[in-house]
Symmetry: C2
Subunit: 190 residues, 2 copies
DNA sequence: CGTCTATTTGAATGTACTCAAAAGCGGTGG
DNA sequence: CCACCGCTTTTGAGTACATTCAAATAGACG
């Protein structure tokens, strides 16, 4: 819980009362490796703040192929967009390691926004950063080759490169695992 | 100005005083076709709300190629990310038609957030929608062919298809203008 | 109406994919 | 703690979608 409160306090100020209110609305849950915590097609009931471990969010396209859209580790938020209007999730979210999350449902979130109004600002800021990151990603897809995207990723997130199975990283980068394997081989030869 | 206030009131409630405060912070400006209103590399001083016309935002990659990342028409926001920390713009924003915008600088925005706190919520909601749209876009890039992306776009935004020069649409879709031309030809043959 | 820009068409090419199979590695059970 | 099984990664060969470069045609703005 401290991790979450700290994260919020990096962007906005909280009173002791605010912190208490927030703490009471979230619940903690642990998952083992490879557990599905949100299933595509079902109502996406919760938002998650990761306090331990690593997760991936992916969708399955019309041909049955999975595409990873995001990873999340400690100190990151993760959830499906359906949360905001309580509609069916398009994403499946699964742990890649034994993990621990704080979660909250829509009612809890709505009441939090009313009781701790500074959270509107907190999430506005979080969302601004997230949106910018997605634009950067689209810009990379447009003008970087697969090799350049891989190099940029492993430079930006050196921790992830080792923590995440290659096939999920390939999927996130928008390339096949076979091709990523070849890229890495070529990069070793300089 | 009514267009902006209406847009805001679709998401949050405003008092008469709020509306007055907001109106006073924005200024109106008109641009002719093909005018650059934000230049990549310069400090991105303003956020824009389009009240008339059509604009494109693009960046220039390391090989000198332009890539359109967004369009904006009436009732849409547009700006560069650098706005939030008053850093250099990565995007150039240019009018595609004679256009009219409401604009605000960083100081104005900051004071607006203080004086009309419900705007934090308004932009939180706007940003949630924008973020979801960008994820949808990445999902399309991942699992749709160029032809499918074009068909999806012209179905979703039939107005744009005719309003925007093909080469900019091709750029937005992440394909060459030559290839889009071929796609359209093939689609006519059913 | 003329010029400049956008679009179309053609031909050759490249980046990344598909399918298939072998090799390597890691988690789970004994 | 080791061994096995299954999943992940690697390697190979052929292929496709989209690009590049060049030139002709069409269209729009002033």
């Amino acid at each position: 819980m401290d991790l979450l409160l700290n994260n919020i306090e990096q962007r906005v100020s909280l009173t002791t009362k605010d912190k208490k209110t927030i703490s009471e609305k979230f619940r903690k849950k642990s998952f083992k490796r490879k557990e599905v915590i949100v299933e595509a097609g079902e109502i996406s009931k919760h938002m998650y703040f990761v306090t331990k471990g690593c997760l991936r969010a992916f969708y399955t396209d019309k041909n049955g192929f999975e595409h990873v859209v995001n990873f999340a580790v400690e100190d990151w938020w993760i959830g499906d967009f359906g949360f905001h209007d309580q509609s069916a999730a398009t994403l499946t979210i699964e742990t890649l390691e034994n993990s621990e999350v704080l979660y909250i449902d829509k009612n809890g979130m709505d009441s939090l926004y009313e009781e701790v109004s500074v959270l509107d600002r907190y999430f506005r800021i979080i969302l601004q950063k997230a949106l910018e990151a997605q634009f950067q990603r689209i810009m990379q897809i447009n003008s970087f080759s697969a090799e350049e995207r891989y190099v940029a990723f492993s430079k930006k997130y050196p921790q992830f490169d080792k923590r995440i199975p290659q096939k999920y990283l390939a999927s996130y980068l928008g390339i096949t695992p076979e091709f990523l394997s070849r890229l890495k081989k070529d990069l070793l030869k300089h």
